[in-house]
């Protein structure tokens, strides 16, 4: 009976082959390789050289170390941002007066790029993990609280009233109505903020620490113009970012959440 959502994507005739995305990647690599072979850019590495650089990193044990260092900082900064931003957003939407009072503050702090906080982060936390974690926290906390706020204000009053009608306490309503109702939108916010956190870790690591993929890039350039390592760092960042995004998308396809992403606007209501 799953008529609307599925039938718009007929699965037998026109579903593109799983390999299609790799065709674009293949052509990119070929074009890159040709450009390096026939162009005049002595410092720029071709794809083989970058692959070898990644191999070299793996062999020396740096690959794992840098990736873990970056993921460690992103995980902490992002978890802290979630722990603060989501409840803050829910509270701002829930308590209208408090929300109105705090909104200007949030709106002024929000547009300040996380990178602008780097000097203060170093001043407060010194050079090290905590400064980087703070910058990632700042970068992702606002998008998260805005996502939570809009998720709450989009919950239909019908669902509130239905919950109240069955005699639920405010706490039960929060757990059994509010939370499941906002989850789909919240997850989109969580996914986008994770992307932002991953973008920012690189910048934070270029300045505030001496490990991680951002550090790898800046260090490879400073210590002898190793552009093969620079590009290797870029490729690793892109690949891990993609994997993080795929992981979050997988959560969005759970059956108890899929309703929130229905194609048919009638069903999303």
């Amino acid at each position: 009976m799953s008529h609307q959502t599925e039938s718009s994507i007929p699965d037998t005739p026109a579903r593109p082959n799983r390999l299609v995305p790799f065709v674009g990647l293949f052509f990119l690599l070929v074009a890159w390789d040709l450009a390096i072979r026939f162009g005049h850019a002595p410092l720029l590495p071709g794809p083989w050289k970058v692959a070898r650089a990644i191999g070299e990193l793996a062999q020396k044990g740096f690959l794992f170390k840098h990736i873990v260092a970056s993921l460690f900082r992103v995980t902490w900064g992002y978890l802290l941002a979630t722990a603060v931003g989501v409840p803050l957003g829910i509270a701002l939407a829930w308590y209208r007066v408090g929300g109105l009072a705090l909104a200007p503050l949030v709106e002024i702090v929000r547009p300040i790029s996380a990178l602008a906080w780097i000097p203060l982060a170093i001043l407060w936390f010194g050079v090290g993990d905590r400064a980087a974690i703070f910058i990632i926290f700042i970068a992702s906390v606002w998008p998260l609280s805005v996502a939570a706020m809009s998720a709450v204000s989009n919950v239909s009053w019908v669902l509130w009233n239905a919950g109240r009608n069955f005699g639920l306490s405010p706490r039960e309503i929060a757990r059994r109505v509010l939370l499941p109702a906002i989850l789909p939108r919240l997850l989109v916010g969580l996914r986008l903020s994770l992307g932002i956190a991953w973008l920012v870790v690189v910048a934070a690591e270029m300045i505030a620490v001496n490990s991680g993929l951002g550090f790898l890039i800046i260090d490879a350039r400073n210590a002898g113009n190793r552009y093969d390592l620079v590009v290797a760092g870029m490729v690793l960042i892109g690949t891990i970012g993609l994997l993080l995004d795929m992981m979050m998308r997988r959560i969005e396809s759970l059956p108890a959440l899929r309703w929130g992403y229905a194609q048919d606007p009638r069903e999303a209501a």
């Binding site: 009976m1 959502t5 019908v158 069955f166 005699g167 059994r176 109505v177 108890a256």
Partner: protein, 259 residues
Amino acid sequence: MIPARKPLTGATKLTIQGLRVAFRTESGEVLVLDNLDLEVREGEFVCILGPSGCGKSTFLNVVAGFLPPTAGSVRIDGEEVRGPDPRRIFVFQERGVFPWLTVEGNIGFGLGKSSKAERARRVAHYVELVGLRGFEQAYPHELSGGMKQRVEVARALAVDPDMLYLDEPFGALDSITRLEMRRELLRIWQAERKTILFVTHDIEESVQLADRIVVMTARPARIRRIVEVDLPHPRDLSSRRYLELRDGIFEEIGLAHRV
């Protein structure tokens, strides 16, 4: 066949006195309900009939305790209504089902305090009653509008309320499903003997379902007339009396019954 009217000697269930509701807007106060008096007896099926936007939905929301009245009182079993109550369940259009729960999860939603076995038994009973067997594990987005509406009715019945408030519950359904749902609602009403308040703008619907029809005026809503429907169920939609009642209301509201 059941008698046209069930024992209306029954106790008074709902008493509304001098009910007035006004909303404050930027352009001043808007009077929505003006001085309503109504009594509903236990087990009665009452339709609230009025044009769209006349405030009949507001009326139902006040009776259900979702909105406080500006003046006047709403009493049920002699007790002032101060908020929503699980003994009286509001059935919205199918938008009221929880989209993150399966059919089973929705129907069992209000049964949090019962034991697991009792919950399972009641859910199974009402799944059966509204004809959703085989769809227990389906999510609402996999169901049609009529099926979602059944889920909501079943969820309401599962907590065994004494009253049901239905706010244009079949308004979004196609006409065939709508007829089917009306028949089903009457069947359930006969089986469960609930007091029902049913808001609609559909004259035919009200004459098919109700013991009494409360005809409202346009905003601010007042009671224009109360029509007793002295027809036995199942009602013959071509009988002279049915047509007479229907046309009487059409005229009352000032509509020619010719398109």
